[in-house]
């Protein structure tokens, strides 16, 4: 019996080795029996291509996406919730193709209002006629193989005039990106205690309190509201583009009844046009009511990497959450990586 078991184990091991070491002899016939990894790579490439085509055809618009766009988004969710697809060539190709479009589109002038670009995770770029501001811009992925290649992410960073960071977590803050801004003479506003002394132009707040910073050359004012993710300082960045609109990005604002107490009243002090919360923010409806915006654009969907699939927030979940808040009668725009939306007051 022991001999049989040993032989069986050897046979299984030999089969497994053969699967990984031998090339699929039927690849030219698109038959992948015994070659699951190759099959999944091929399928991911096909799916990403179809999704990209559909997303370009049905661009972001207010409220529930058109059915083909919704299917593209849920297909993207399905791909991104199969960990076999993590960090594969089709994924890198997909995200970089989309980011290259952002890089190119950033050259297109904005004549009125704001153009809002969605990048990886909670990253946004907001472009007005006079300024281009990045918030929580990161390349994503491990340092040795970032999701967005250096040429693309630094190309995008190079087209921005300032960078605002919500909090120190690496899915929001990247020192190399910040340094690239400083190297070009651009200011970086970070939360208290982050990157202290890294560069004179990388400026953590002295105090974690409501702070107003003028950018006269960019015709904008940054209002930092002192939020928290638990005990972590979390800057809620309210960017007032004079005459064009005001956006608020909440970073990973989470919990804290003491914060919610003042968040309830933000709308009394600031005229928020576009509210950009983290999609899994707790008490989201309360926060939305507190900011009183005219439009909602969520961030942070499908964060890959450390999170297990149950915490890679899907696009379809954002749609469902917005349906739950239908009583607010507030429009929302659901965007994915590498898309943009023109907002006019």
């Amino acid at each position: 019996m022991r001999t049989f078991t040993t032989l069986l184990l050897l046979a299984v091991a030999a089969f497994a080795t053969a699967q990984t070491s031998e090339a699929n002899p039927y690849a030219d016939k698109y038959i992948y029996q015994g070659y699951l990894k190759d099959y999944k790579l091929g399928q991911a490439a096909e799916a990403y291509s179809a999704i990209d085509t559909m997303l370009q055809t049905y661009i972001p618009e207010q409220n529930q996406p058109a059915m083909p766009r919704e299917l593209a988004l849920v297909s993207l969710d399905q791909l991104l919730h199969d960990t076999d697809n993590d960090a594969t060539a089709p994924f890198y190709n997909f995200i970089n193709t989309r980011m290259k479009r952002v890089l190119k589109d950033l050259d297109r002038p904005v004549s009125e209002g704001l153009r809002i670009y969605k990048l990886y995770n909670d990253g946004f770029i907001i472009k007005s006629k006079k300024a281009t501001v990045a918030i929580d811009l990161i390349p994503g992925g491990p340092d040795n193989k970032p999701f967005i290649t250096d040429s693309v992410i630094y190309g995008i960073a190079g087209k921005c005039d300032a960078l605002f960071i919500s909090h120190w977590h690496p899915d929001h803050a990247n020192l190399n990106i910040a340094k690239s801004f400083a190297a070009r003479g651009k200011r970086v506003i970070a939360p208290k205690d982050l990157w202290v002394g890294a560069d004179p132009l990388i400026q953590p707040l002295d105090e974690h309190k409501e702070t107003h910073i003028e950018f006269a050359d960019l015709d904008l004012t940054l209002h930092v509201l002192p939020g928290h993710q638990g005990d972590i300082y979390n800057n809620i960045n309210v960017v007032e583009f004079h005459g064009a609109g005001t956006v608020a990005q909440t970073g990973d604002q989470w919990g804290r009844e003491d914060d919610l107490a003042w968040i309830d009243h933000v709308h009394e002090k600031y005229d928020i046009d576009v509210f950009m919360p983290n999609c899994w923010m707790d008490q989201l409806q309360r926060a939305i009511e507190g900011f009183g915006p005219k439009l909602i654009i969520t961030g942070h969907e499908n964060e890959l990497g450390e999170h297990s699939i149950d915490h890679r927030e899907a696009y379809w979940i954002t749609i469902k959450k917005m349906e739950l808040m239908a009583e607010l009668e507030l429009p929302y725009v659901l965007m994915t990586w590498g898309e943009w939306y023109d907002y006019k007051k």
Partner: protein, 384 residues
């Protein structure tokens, strides 16, 4: 009757509590997901809800963009998305999967009420199952429930029985359970419909069963159809290749589970004897080019995609079928990729002539088809 003491009830109560508590907990969890859509710590529940969201969208897209020889980007999106959802190893835990399949079967059953005025309408079912509907008859081939050894069939019992009710006959090509379903054969037999099946397969389902297949071509005459059964093989097992001459409505060939290199010597000449309009053949055949070349049909419709009982690497995706068929560069034959529950209308020149002579008529408020002085029900039964 012996009276039970309270002590006797304790194990029963404990068992009831043990089963009721998780059920109650599960119920609470399910309702709470729909209050906040937060699935942290419950990846399987997350995937269940994702399937519940994805499958209906795929269904909508497929309905909006039905099968054609040149599917556009919308249909491509739906098919590759379907491949993704069907390549989920945990699909048997997704109720949305079963709902999807059976809702598509419901579309099919409803569509079968629509008359066929000319040619033949092809319906695709699970695995290699098809229904051919003409003005005069409705033939089912290799209808199976799916699900393998699982106690839960993929296609519901009621759908199988309704198909049997709406069809005139069932043809089974081979004995493999992926093509031959005893439940389907029984449903047809109970409905008084003929079942033509390989020899040696079930003998106790009554007189409706007609064993068929021989070492040479066998020809069977049915109502408005001549069936030619060719002696094919799947490996060493007998496989009846069925060529159905629908008498002016088209000639349709179904190759069942055909997979045998030696048979290719005669398959390659079939086009000389049979003018096949539509070839229904499994998509992942290594000799697909030889089979298609042998039949030289006017239209190719593939079968067997996404056979769920198999491991993921063996569930043939629609996208691989499309790549494979498009790579048959030596053969310029239009191909139609169909998903479960879809219909495709084919009409050759002759049946187009029939079309011009057929018309819908209302008699006592009921729809009939009139052709050359005769009146038929929409399902093709002659009434006058």
């Amino acid at each position: 009757m012996k009276k039970l003491s309270l002590l006797h009830y304790i194990p029963v109560c404990l068992l009831a509590a043990a089963t009721a508590l998780p059920a109650a907990a599960q119920q609470r969890r399910v309702s709470s997901y729909e209050k906040d859509y937060i699935f942290w710590g419950s990846p399987d529940a997350y995937l269940n809800y994702q399937a519940k969201t994805g499958f209906p969208l795929i269904d909508q897209m497929l309905q909006a963009y039905p099968p054609t020889a040149t599917p556009d980007k919308h249909r491509q999106m739906a098919l590759v998305s379907l491949d993704q959802f069907l390549h989920d190893e945990g699909y048997t835990r997704r109720e949305a999967f079963y709902t999807f399949v059976n809702s598509r079967m419901a579309h099919l059953l409803e569509d079968m009420n629509r008359p066929v005025l000319s040619g033949v309408r092809i319906y695709k079912l699970y695995n290699s199952g098809f229904i051919l509907k003409t003005l005069k008859n409705t033939i089912a081939i290799d209808i199976v429930q799916g699900g393998g050894s699982s106690s839960k069939g993929i296609v519901s019992d009621s759908v199988i029985y309704e198909i049997a009710y709406k069809c005139d006959a069932l043809i089974i090509t081979n004995t493999d359970e992926r093509h031959a379903s005893r439940k389907a054969a029984k449903a047809f037999a109970e409905a008084g419909k003929k079942v033509i099946l390989p020899k040696g397969l079930w003998t106790n389902l009554g007189e409706a069963l007609q064993p068929a297949g021989a070492d040479t071509v066998q020809t069977i005459e049915l109502d408005a159809m001549t069936l030619h059964i060719l002696p094919g093989h799947n490996g060493s097992n007998r496989n009846n290749i069925c060529i159905m001459d629908l008498k002016g409505c088209g000639i349709v060939a179904h190759t069942g589970a055909q997979d045998n290199a030696a048979d290719l010597t005669w398959i390659e000449h079939l086009h000389e004897q049979y003018k096949t309009d539509i070839l229904l053949t499994k998509s992942q055949n290594l000799d697909l080019e030889s089979i298609v070349s042998g039949f030289r049909p006017r239209v190719l419709i593939t079968a067997n995609e996404n056979e769920m009982e198999r491991s993921v690497d063996m569930r043939e995706a629609y996208w691989t079928t499309q790549k494979r068929v498009n790579s048959l560069t030596a053969i310029d034959i239009p191909n139609i990729i169909m998903a479960w529950g879809e219909a495709y209308d084919y009409a050759d020149t002759e049946s187009e002539n029939i079309s011009s002579s057929a018309s819908k008529v209302m008699i006592d408020g009921v729809l009939y088809i009139e052709r050359k002085g005769a009146v038929y029900t929409p399902s093709g039964v002659k009434v006058k």
